[in-house]
Amino acid sequence: MSVAVLPHTVKPHPITGVYSGKLGTWLFLASEVMLFGALFSSYVLLRVGAPHEGPAAWPTHDQTHLSWKIGGLNTIVLIVSSVTMVMAWANLKMNKFAKGKMYLAATLGLAMTFIIVKLAFEYIPKFTHEPPYLPSTNNFFALYFTMTGLHGLHVLGGVIVIAYFLGPGSKLWHRDPEYFTNRIECTGLYWHFVDLVWIFLFPVLYLL
C-alpha cells in the first residue's frame, strides 16, 4: 500500500494558484495584523483617554526622549533589508544560488543592525538614564516598550529563520531548488510584514 503524497507543498494548486506554504504564510500574517492592530487600537484609546495633567499625562515631544534620527536610521535599515530580501528571492528564482545567498546574508546583517541600534542607542540609554524610563514611568513608555519590544521579537524571529536558511536550511537547495526558493519567498513575505509594522510604529511613536 502506498502512502499518498501531500499535494501542493511545492507546486501551486492549479485553481488557487498558490502552494500551501504561501497561503499559510498569508493567513499567519492576517493574524499578525490583528495582533498589532489590537496594540495600535490600544494606543489610540489610551492616548485619547490619558489625563491632561499629573504623572500619567501623555508626554510632550521633548519628554518622550525619542530621537527621530535614530528611528529614521532604523527605518532606512529595514526598508533596505526588504529590498535585499526581494533580491535574494529573485536571484534564487533565476537559479543564482550564490548571489541569492549573498543577498540573504545582507538581509541578515541589516536585521542585526536594526536590533543593535535599537538596543545600544534606545533601550539601554533609557534604562540607564537617571531617573530611568521604564514601562512604569507612564503609558507612553509602556506602549513604546511593549510595541517595539514585540516588534523586536519579530525581527529576532526573522533573524533566526534567515540564519537557518543561510546555514543548515540551505542544503534543501541542492535537493529541491524550487522548494528552497519557495521557503525564501515565504520568509520574505514575513520579513516585509515586519518591515511594514515598523513603518507604522515609527511615525506613531517618534513623530506624532
Binding site: 502512502v3 500551501s20 499567519f28 493574524s31 495582533l35 535537493r175 522548494y179
Partner: protein, 590 residues
Amino acid sequence: MSHGSNDHHHHGPDHHHHDHPELGWWRKYVFSTDHKVIGVWYAVTALVFLLLGFSLVMTMRWQLAYPGQPLPVIGALFSENVMPGGVMLPEFYNSLGAMHGTIMVFLGIVPLIVGGFGNYVMPLQIGAPDMAFPKINMASYWVYFVGGIVMLASFFAPGGAANSGWTSYTPLSVTATAGQTWWLIGMVFLITSSLLGSLNFIVTIIQLRANGLSFFRLPFFVWSQFVTAFLLLLAFPPLEAAAVLQLMDRVAGSSFFMPTGLVVSGVVQSYTGGGSPLLWQHLFWFLAHPEVYVLILPGMGMVAEVITSNTRKPLWGYRVMVYSLVFLGFMSFIVWAHHMFITGMGTRISAFFATTTMIISIPSVVILTALVITLYRSSIRYTVPMLFALAFLPMFAIGGLTGLPLGLPAADIQLHDTYYVIGHFHYVVAPGTIFAAFAGIYHWYPKVTGRSMNAALGKIHFWLSFIFINAVFTPMFFQGMAGVSRRLYDQTLYQHGVEVQGWTIMSSWGAWMLGLSQVPFILNFFLSMRAGRKVADNPWESTTLEWAAPSPPPHGNFATVPVVYRGPYEYSVPGTKRDFFPQHLTKAEA
C-alpha cells in the same frame, strides 16, 4: 508502505530518514504527524480536561448548596490552606470558578471539537491524505499540551490559581495573586496553539480537497470547521495582545488597565495610572464573543452529519445553512460589547451592539430551523448519536432564546451577572455543544477504532445525562430572575438568595448526578476499544468521504485517491438501489 521522494518536501530538509516505513513507537503514537493520531490525542486530552473542569465545579457546588459545611470525604483530601476542616475558603472558591471556565472553554471544549474532531474527521471528509502542514499540526497539539500543564501548575502558585474569573477583568486581575501571571502565560501558549491549528485547517480545506469536491459539495461539518478556523485565526490575536499588556501591568508595572488613583483595601496603588480598565474588556470580548461561536459552530456541524445519516434525508436548505454560517462568522466580530452594557460605555454604543446582537440571532435560528425541518417526515433511526443530536436541538434553542433578553440593554441591566447568564450560556455549551460532541463520539467511534460503542450503555448515558443536565441548569434561570449574583460564595447571606436556595440545592444534586451519569460513558469508551462489536467501514450507511476509508484509516487515509461526483447528503435518491449514494461513487458503481 513507501514514501515518495516528494514526501521529503513537506517534512523539511532535516529529516533524511523518512524513507523508512517503520517509525519508532514514540514517533508513531506520541510525536506523530499523522492527523488521526493528533486528533485522538487532542480528543483524549480534552476529555480529561473536561472531566477535570467538571470536577472543579462539582466541588464548588457543595459550598453553594451547603455553605460553610465541611465537604464530606473529598474535603479531607485538600490542603488546610484552601479547605480548613473541609470547608472551602472564599479565595479557593474563586480560583475554582476561574479555572472551571478557563479549563472548560480553552482546554476542554475547543480542543475537543476543533482539535479532536476537526483534526480527525475534516481531512477524511475532504479526501486528503493528511493536513497541509503535518508538523505544524503536531506542534499545535504540543503547545496546547504545555499550555494545559502551565494552567494546572498554576494551582500550586503562591495564592493558588487565577481567581479573577475566566474573563480576568482588570484592575482586579492585575492586583491578584501570582496565579494570574501563570494564567496569562498559559493563555499565550493556548493562543499560539490555536493560531497554528486554525491556519492549518484553512489551508487544508482550500488546498487539499479531493478532485470534484467543490465548496458546495463539502459536508456541513467541514464548512463549520472552516468558519471556526477563521474566527480562531482573527479573534484570538487581540486577546494575545491583551494578555501581553496585562502581563506588562503585572510584571513591569505599566498602567495599561490601571486607572489613576486606584485604591485597593484602603491603600492607594503605586501605579502611575492613566490606563483604562474598559480597554481590557473590549480586547477580551473581541476574542471571547467569536469564541462563543467557536464553541457552537463545530457542534452544529457534527449534529448536521449525525442527523442526515440517521434521517436518511439530505440536509434541508444546505446552501442557506452555509450562507448563514458564513454570515454568523462575520457578524460574530461585531457583537462583542453586548457583554458590557452595564459598564457605562454609553447608550449609542449599546444601541449599536444590541442591534447587531439581534441580527446575529437570525442566522442561528435559520440553521436550527433547517436542522429541525430535515427531521420532518423522515424515518428516524434512533441510534445513540441521533439521540444526542435530537436533544441538541431543543437544548440549543433554549440556550439561544434565553440569550435574547441579554442582548437588549434594558433587560440586561436586571439580568447581567446573575445566574440567568450562567444558565443561558451553559444551555448553549453544555447540553448544546457537549451533547453534540457526545453525538460525534458515538458517531465516529467506529471509524477511529473499527468497533462500535455499546448501544445499551449509550442509551443509559444519554437519558441520565439528559435528565440531570436539565436539573443543573433550569434552576439557574429562576435564581437569576430572583437577582442572585453569579459571583456569590454564599448566597444565603442575602434574603433574596435564601428564598431561592432550594433551586441551588437542586442544581448541585443535578451536577453530582450528572457526574455519576458519565460512568457508563467512560466504561463504554474504554471497554468498546477491545470488546466492541467489529463493524464494517461504513456502519451508518453514510455518504460522506470519511466512510469510504478503511476503519481505522491507515497512514495516508485512502487506498486510492477518491474522486467526488456529488453533494454530501444524497440519501434516498429516487431510482437508486440503496437509500444512500456515497459522494465518491459514480452512477454505475452505485
